[in-house]
């Protein structure tokens, strides 16, 4: 069923303010990975170690936005990917990192670096190499247009498989009540 003539779908993936759990779940499709690789090739991804993505068909983004760098990466994905997918609870709702949203960021930095014993000599790190944290963690759709959402923490391997195979087959991905899980 493999048609070597057929152009492969180019996919980029990344994890922003996430835990790579969604990526692990993608690896959990196990031997179906081989089938997948017959149809897709990976651009920027932790799986390839490509640092910046070029034009892609699909971008899978795990994690929400907690700092300036997350915003830059997300924008790079949005710019280069025809279809952008928010993968997992953090990308969809902010998730676990967003549970800091009721805390004042200034208080957090003060407590971690100044009040408490820290590795940074009582100073808040200010190296320009470090991305600055946003005052709140946000889901992806608040900053760029997102085409599809896959909830779940993480979405199961079957969920990701169903989504990707629908997409590859040119169908609108539908998960149904069984695979639509928020936890």
């Amino acid at each position: 069923m493999t048609n070597p003539e057929q152009k492969k779908i180019r996919v980029a993936t990344t994890s922003l303010a996430g835990c790579f759990g969604c990526h692990m779940s993608l690896l959990d499709i196990d031997e179906r990975l081989f089938t997948l690789l017959e149809h897709v090739e990976f651009d920027r991804s932790p799986l390839t170690d490509i640092k910046h993505c070029g034009p892609c068909d699909v971008g899978l983004v795990e994690g929400g936005l907690c700092n300036a760098e997350n915003v830059h990466v997300l924008r790079e994905f949005r710019k280069n990917c025809k279809i952008l997918v928010a993968v997992g609870a953090c990308a969809v709702t902010g998730g676990l990192p967003a549970q800091r949203n009721h805390l004042d960021l200034a208080d957090c930095l003060q407590e971690v670096y100044v009040t408490e014993v820290s590795l940074h000599n009582g100073l808040i790190p200010n190296d320009p190499e470090l991305p600055l944290p946003l005052d709140k963690v946000h889901p992806l759709h608040e900053v760029v247009k997102v085409d599809y959402f896959i909830p779940g923490c993480p979405p199961s391997a079957d969920t990701l498989w169903k989504f990707l195979t629908d997409l590859l087959a040119g169908r609108t991905p539908t998960l149904g009540v069984e695979l639509t899980r928020y936890d």
């Binding site: 609870a89 709702t93 967003a98 009721h102 759709h141 639509t180 899980r181």
Partner: protein
């Protein structure tokens, strides 16, 4: 039980005093709902049970839980238009509060979550409000996590009408509306709530939780992990006497007050 109305083209019998939602559920037809509970007077606040009434051009919409059943009504419920409305309402609730399912003990038993997945809600869509709602862990046996409150008032109703304690009430208005606790300190520990209270059993989401039983039932084996809410709600609905024994009147006692 001779009169009927039409729901999505099917005849639904009803008893006097029943609302459209009550009659539909007793007859085995599901209309999505959230703030309605079979043991309490219909409330009509979540609006998830909204249906379309009347055929042709002369239609209107109304919450079916508070809409009195009437012979000859033509009701549309399971349509893309109504389900799209329900999806948006559920999305609004997700955006309004702080709903982090992965870390919530109620996950799998939560009606908001179950309704969302049954309706195919993939995202809150709107910007999140991320309100600041401190939890109340003062009580030795009970945790209150207001982050998940959807303001359905079921605990308010249960605590007043059944427990006769009025532990909960609502304050504020608009987007700042919130649950308050009946104590000068504002803390649950200073109320007379008990684990056996009805108010402990009715929260559709994860606000009122018993402590020290977290994750006793593993994720994946919980109520709505077994069956979608659309099937589960029909099991819970009061049925006509013939169907569910002497106490299943189809109409709750509280509704007739």
């Amino acid at each position: 039980m001779s009169e009927t109305f039409q729901l999505d083209g099917e005849d639904i019998p009803f008893a006097p005093g029943q609302t459209v939602l009550q009659a539909a559920l007793s007859a085995g037809h599901y209309i999505p709902h959230l703030c309605y509970h079979p043991e309490f007077k219909p409330h009509g606040s979540c609006k998830v049970c909204t249906v379309k009434i009347g055929g042709g051009n002369n239609t209107r919409t109304a919450a079916s839980c508070t809409l009195p059943a009437q012979a000859g009504l033509e009701i549309e419920s399971d349509t893309e238009e109504m389900n799209a409305l329900r999806r948006t309402l559920v999305q609004m609730l997700f955006a309004e509060g702080n709903h982090f399912c992965p870390s919530c003990e109620k996950s799998g038993n939560c009606e908001l979550q179950a309704l969302g997945s049954d309706l195919g809600v993939m995202t809150a869509g709107f910007r999140h409000f991320y309100p600041d709602r401190p939890v109340d862990a003062s009580h030795p046996d009970i945790l209150l996590d207001f982050n998940r409150c959807i303001l359905c008032e079921l605990c308010v109703r249960a605590s007043c009408e059944v427990d006769e304690k009025c532990v909960f009430s609502l304050s504020g208005r608009g987007i700042t509306k919130h649950l308050v606790v009946n104590a000068t300190s504002g803390k649950l520990a200073d109320t007379d709530i008990a684990l056996t209270d009805k108010a402990m059993q009715v929260c559709p989401v994860g606000v009122i939780l018993k402590k020290r039983v977290g994750f006793a039932v593993p994720i994946g084996q919980r109520r709505y992990d077994q069956r979608p809410i659309s099937a589960q709600a029909l099991d819970d609905a009061p049925r006509p006497p013939s169907a569910s024994g002497p106490n299943g009147s189809g109409v709750c006692q509280a509704c007739e007050e």
